[in-house]
């Protein structure tokens, strides 16, 4: 009986350990801090640094997009918060937007961020209630970014310079 309980405990213990090892190799954390953050995400207890988030938002509103993104990266180091990733994507969009042309590198990074944001939500859609933004859903932002990557004859339309940034 005692031997059987040792066997059962051993199986339980070693299976959990094996799952942890598979998880480590799948997530490939770079530091012990990242291990802890990934564990928090897996456990559903992950929270962003709200203070850093707010200071990034202030920078975003002052149109200092690069600095805002850096601050958001520090607020959400695991890139595990949908709202922060939405704002990161928005910052890429606003910086990449041009009256004559779009900066394709920035637009591409914006698309990656918005896809991350969509992937982090349960049903793939969410709304950000920020009166300073003209696009409030991830779907709107994604459509705008995708449109920016497409090439068409309308690109040569001279009236295109009249368009406005959202």
């Amino acid at each position: 009986m005692r031997q059987r309980s040792i066997q059962a405990a051993g199986i339980l213990l070693t299976f959990s350990y094996a799952a942890f090892i598979i998880w480590i190799y799948a997530t490939e954390p770079r530091t012990f801090k990242e291990v802890a953050t990934s564990a928090e995400i897996a456990a559903g207890t992950y929270q962003i640094d709200q203070e850093k988030f707010n200071s990034a938002l202030a920078l975003f509103r002052r149109e200092q997009f690069r600095a805002a993104r850096d601050e958001w990266l520090r607020a959400d180091p695991a890139q595990g918060d949908a709202r922060t990733q939405f704002y990161v994507s928005y910052a890429f969009y606003r910086e990449g937007w041009g009256r004559v042309y779009y900066d394709q590198d920035l637009i591409k990074q914006g698309l990656e961020a918005v896809n991350r944001a969509i992937g982090l939500t349960a049903n793939g859609s969410f709304t950000v209630d920020d009166p300073n933004l003209q696009m409030h859903t991830a779907a709107e932002l994604k459509a705008e970014l995708e449109q920016a990557t497409e090439r068409s004859w309308s690109d040569v339309n001279p009236f295109k310079v009249m368009r406005t940034r959202k």
Binding site: Q7, I11, L13, I21, E28, P29, R30, T31
Partner: protein
């Protein structure tokens, strides 16, 4: 002392000795179960975890390298060697006469041993370039040759310790010295000459010295695990007996054996 008192004394002494022997047997059985079902799988899983871990020389960040395909082939060969060298008594570990949970635990332990072997190879193989294939070839050659040699369990473990030790010295001392960041002019010249002669195929990634320490710890754990296997298999009792008797005894189903 009257004859009756003497008789009672003998009976009490015999009872105490029997109780001690029984207690020792129970403890032995529990310790073996602990080693077999908890310590060994945990040890081998730790080897599986650390075998692919490197530390970046620039940022000191963790790099996890999954086992390359060739290490799985090497692990298969090594597993065959374990069975051939009687380090693992496969017919005893997995038998229709064993309890299902026991069979399951043993199969799980064999899995952990397999992945630990693959990761132990991963730990001492250069990550890329010609040296990766040279090391792989020498490992394959050695294991293939060993498959046709006569081995017993202790000799096999000693041979493996030497094999992994040599590979460790070559990779983490010699090659790390030639290609490492903090090297003298002589090492730089030797490294450049080797690169030139091999047309750049000897290129190997540079890791922080911590990688060498992790690898050493990994290999030490792996060899320690291999040394513990005979203890978990209850071999010390049968090793004292004549080999022919032992062999015939091992052919019996576990329920018919005197020594379980």
């Amino acid at each position: 002392m009257t004859p009756v008192q003497g008789f009672i004394g003998i009976i009490v002494t015999e009872y105490v000795v029997n109780a001690d022997a029984k207690m020792m047997e129970i403890n032995r059985s529990r310790n073996r179960a602990l080693v077999s079902f908890i310590v060994l799988p945990m040890l081998f899983l730790t080897v599986a975890l650390l075998g692919g871990l490197r530390v970046s020389a620039e940022s000191y960040a963790f790099i996890f390298i999954p086992p390359p395909l060739v290490t799985l082939v090497l692990a298969v060969l090594l597993s065959l060697l374990f069975v051939r060298g009687h380090l693992i008594e496969l017919p005893r570990w997995v038998a229709s006469t064993n309890a299902p949970l026991t069979n399951f635990s043993h199969i799980w332990m064999l899995f952990t041993l397999f992945f630990a072997s693959a990761q132990a190879f991963n730990s001492v193989l250069p990550e890329r370039g010609l040296l990766h294939w040279l090391f792989s070839f020498f490992f394959l050659w050695t294991l293939w040759n060993n498959l046709f040699s006569w081995f017993d369990a202790s000799r096999l473990v000693r041979s493996l310790a030497v094999l992994f030790g040599t590979a460790f010295v070559l990779k983490h001392l010699l090659l790390a010295g030639l290609y490492g960041q903090e090297r003298g002019w002589l090492q730089r010249v030797a490294g450049a000459l080797l690169q030139g002669v091999s047309l750049g195929t000897l290129d190997t990634p540079v890791f922080a010295p911590a990688s060498g320490y992790i690898s050493f710890f990994t290999l030490a754990l792996f060899v320690a695990g291999l040394l513990l296997i005979p203890f978990a298999q209850q071999r010390e009792a049968v090793d004292l007996a004549h080999p022919v008797i032992v062999e015939n005894h091992l052919k019996l189903p576990p329920s018919d054996r005197v020594i379980q």
